[in-house]
């Protein structure tokens, strides 16, 4: 039932057709007949003789019955009408017919008073019923709104349905609900009914709110703030175009509903915050995972910029890194920056990054155009708002993480700064990890270089000193063999011949060992002739069909690249000779643009590879691990393909 229900023709019709009405009329007629029986002798009813009433007190008292019955059965108004009729019935006798007019008047007044008292009791009962009914209606309305509000956390849908219920129970024509946006900087029209479409096309804007509430569709209105925990979250305005005076209970009901809507709005906001927080944490986890699984700084930081943009809802992002050697800030990681900004060179010491690095504190510029230290080219390129935080870990500032908007000015909240700082901390960890990794790689390189230098020195000493001494020894033995005294002694001659052959064998071994340590051809002639020598010796010494294939245009590489590829090929061929049982091995070198591929493929027995490369060490494959480490030192890769019975392929690829 609506709060504004009014009596209607239907209600009158119901009263007319009610048996109670006719019973009241019958009782009143009976009273007339009894009260005026002497005057109604002509009527064919038994009111003569001994039955005739003389004092008329009884029928006066009996007239209370229709008054009371009408008041309780048909309502206080009907009781009043019955009282008036009863009074009119009694009045002629008091005035004109009664032999004791004073008694008659007293009795008539007494009947009227008792009748009035009965009507008053009936009115109290009726009022209580109406109050109960109104309370039930209000409770029902609140329940309906509650049911709608607790049905979903989708604020727009929920508040739209709640507004429908409010208009239905109040019988009003139009209404709207505004809520403050999350930054409390704008009002969003989340639900509206009965307002001109053209007026409600915009959904946000303070001006829209001010215009809508003065629309003629809401000429008579009730406006109630939506509150939760004492904080105003929005407003509900309901009303109609006509003139209407709102009853206190209507305003009370709307206030109760508005309180519920306020709580629902707060719940929806909390739900949205939690969902967003979970999303942010998920993205931060992705960054953290990326950092722990990826040591390549370029990949990590490129991803960091994009995630930072996404988390704070910016249009573009950039990471600036301090170049300590040159004392400048470089911007190697950029995303979505306009061409004009990409091409602009920031003068040394200027720009927001310098400020943030110097202060080691976040900086937010909501209106870049109004920023006194703006870079004009950036303002012209459409930079609207910007936020930058330092990338810092362990008290050391590595650079800045900056996000910016290009379409429209916006404010960045404290929460945005916190989120961006969290991402920047992850970026700092990534940079620190990458630096540690780079230091480790540099140290490993130095170790290898020292090792190679030592090998080179040993190879040269073996070749220049030991091998030459053995040659001298062989020549002296030759000289002894042609000596006449020795010629005469066959046992000595045989012994000398053995010694000369042994010296020749040792000399050959020393030369081979020297070659293995560091072939001089690698420095003098390059990788390919050295590999050719390696494969030729393998064919000759080990009786394995070893071949070298070259694809692309052969060329000299850097000494470091040639040495690494040679060592990988050397280790792979040693493995073939020692473990594979192969009869054939092909070493293939492929020169492409910017890369060199080395492929050593045999037809041996193969072996079961560990699942992951890091398990090579545990399974005793130290040679493979060493090859991998060498390839990685120059930014290359090494992969091994093998399975029992299918041979083995070792493939290294390095940039040149």
């Amino acid at each position: 039932m609506g709060l504004n229900s009014t009596p209607s023709m239907g209600r009158v019709q119901r009263i007319v057709l009610s048996p109670s009405l006719w019973l009241v009329i019958a009782m009143l007629l009976s009273g007339v007949i009894l009260h005026y029986s002497a005057q109604l002798r002509s009527l064919p009813i038994p009111v003569h003789g001994e039955m005739e009433l003389r004092r008329h007190s009884t029928e006066r008292v009996l007239l209370i019955l229709p008054i009371g019955y009408a008041a309780f059965a048909l309502g206080p108004t009907a009781g009043l009408v019955s009282l008036a009729v009863a009074f009119l019935i009694m009045l002629p006798r008091v005035l004109f017919l009664s032999g004791s007019p004073a008694d008659a008047a007293t009795e008539t007044i007494a009947v009227t008073l008792v009748g009035g008292l009965t009507i008053w009791l009936a009115w109290i009962k009726k009022s209580q019923e109406v109050l109960r009914e109104k309370a039930a209606t209000r409770l029902q309305a609140i329940n309906s709104v509650s049911a709608v509000l607790t049905g979903s956390l989708d604020l727009r849908r929920t508040l739209g349905e709640a507004l429908n219920v409010v208009l239905e129970v109040t019988g009003l024509e139009a209404g709207l609900i505004f809520v403050l946006d999350e930054k409390e900087a704008d009002l969003t029209l989340v639900a509206h009914r009965g307002l001109p479409r053209a007026m409600t096309e915009g959904t946000t804007g303070l001006r829209l709110a001010r215009v809508l509430v003065t629309d003629p569709a809401l000429a008579s209105q009730v406006a109630i703030p939506l509150k939760s925990k004492g904080e105003t979250l929005g407003a509900m305005v309901v009303g109609e175009s006509g003139d209407r005076r709102f009853q206190p209970e209507e305003v009370e009901l709307l206030s109760a509903i508005a309180a519920q809507i306020g709580v629902a709005a707060e719940n929806a906001r909390l739900h949205r915050d939690v969902t967003r927080q979970l999303g942010r944490e998920r993205r931060l986890n992705e960054v953290a995972e990326g950092i722990t699984s990826e040591l390549e700084l370029d990949k990590v930081l490129s991803k960091v910029v994009q995630i930072a943009e996404e988390l704070v809802g910016a249009d573009a992002g950039v990471i600036g890194l301090v170049d300590e050697t040159r004392g400048v800030i470089r911007y190697p990681y950029r995303h979505n920056l306009p061409e004009e900004m990409e091409q602009t060179r920031i003068p040394e010491g200027q720009g927001l990054a310098s400020l943030v690095i110097a202060s080691d504190a976040p900086a937010v510029i909501e209106d870049y155009y109004a920023y006194p230290h703006r870079i004009e080219a950036f303002a012209k390129a459409g930079l609207k708002s910007i936020m930058a935080v330092p990338i810092v870990t362990g008290g050391k500032v590595f650079g800045t993480l900056t996000v910016l908007t290009l379409k429209e000015r916006r404010s960045f909240s404290d929460r945005d700064v916190t989120v961006l700082s969290a991402v920047a901390r992850q970026a700092a960890i990534a940079i620190e990890n990458a630096r540690l990794y780079e230091n480790m790689r540099s140290f490993a390189k130095q170790c290898l270089t020292a090792q190679e230098q030592e090998r080179k020195r040993m190879a040269r000493e073996l070749h220049d000193d030991t091998a030459q001494s053995l040659v001298a020894l062989s020549r002296q033995l030759d000289a002894l063999l042609v000596n006449s005294e020795v010629e005469r002694s066959s046992p000595v001659k045989a012994r000398l011949r053995e010694l000369r052959e042994l010296a020749a064998q040792i000399s050959q071994d020393v030369r081979r060992f020297s070659q293995a340590l560091r072939p001089s051809t690698l420095d003098d002639l390059g990788l390919l002739p050295t590999l050719e020598g390696l494969t030729n010796r393998m064919s000759e010494d080990d009786h394995i069909d070893a071949r070298l294939e070259v694809v692309g245009t052969p060329r000299r590489l850097s000494p470091e690249a040639e040495l690494i590829l040679f060592r990988i090929a050397q280790e792979a061929l040693t493995n073939v000779r020692r473990h594979s049982g192969a009869t054939e091995v092909v070493t293939r070198v492929e020169f492409t643009n910017g890369r060199v591929k080395l492929n050593v493929r045999d037809n041996g027995r193969g072996f079961q590879l560990p699942d992951q490369a890091r398990e090579y060490v545990q399974s005793g494959k130290l040679g493979l691990t060493g090859m991998m480490e060498r390839a990685e030192l120059v930014g290359g890769t090494l992969t091994v393909h093998s399975s029992p019975g299918t041979g083995t392929t070792v493939e290294a690829e390095i940039p040149i």
């Binding site: 505004f178 403050l180 946006d181 930054k183 409390e184 900087a185 704008d186 009002l187 303070l206 001006r207 709110a209 001010r210 215009v211 509430v213 003065t214 209105q221 009730v222 406006a223 109630i224 703030p225 105003t232 929005g234 407003a235 305005v237 909501e366 209106d367 000015r409 404010s411 960045f412 909240s413």
Partner: protein
């Protein structure tokens, strides 16, 4: 002057100068809530808008009570309560 014009041409620029974009938006949003829930005509709502600004702690902290009061009075005066009567003085000497 129309309240809307006054808000856009006087109040908002004055707040922007001292509070920046986000703070100004927040102040105006709170005052607009007062405007929306005030009821009555535009001028009465405008007064509620100004009363909300005058009671805003951020505004009071930055400007001080005296300046807030003086500034709000100035803004009130820009939108008179009733239309100004037009007095036509006729030259009756001729």
């Amino acid at each position: 002057m129309d309240p809307e014009t006054c808000i856009e041409e006087h109040i908002e620029p004055a707040l922007l100068r001292d509070f920046g974009l986000s703070e100004t938006k927040s102040l105006l949003a709170t005052a607009t809530l007062a405007y929306v829930t005030a009821g009555g005509g535009k001028i009465r709502r405008y007064r509620a808008f100004l009363d909300s600004l005058a009671a805003n702690e951020r505004l009071l902290r930055k400007w001080g009570p005296e300046r807030v009061s003086r500034q709000c009075e100035e803004w009130k005066d820009l939108v008179p309560l009733e239309p100004q009567p037009v007095v036509v003085i006729k030259d009756t000497s001729s």
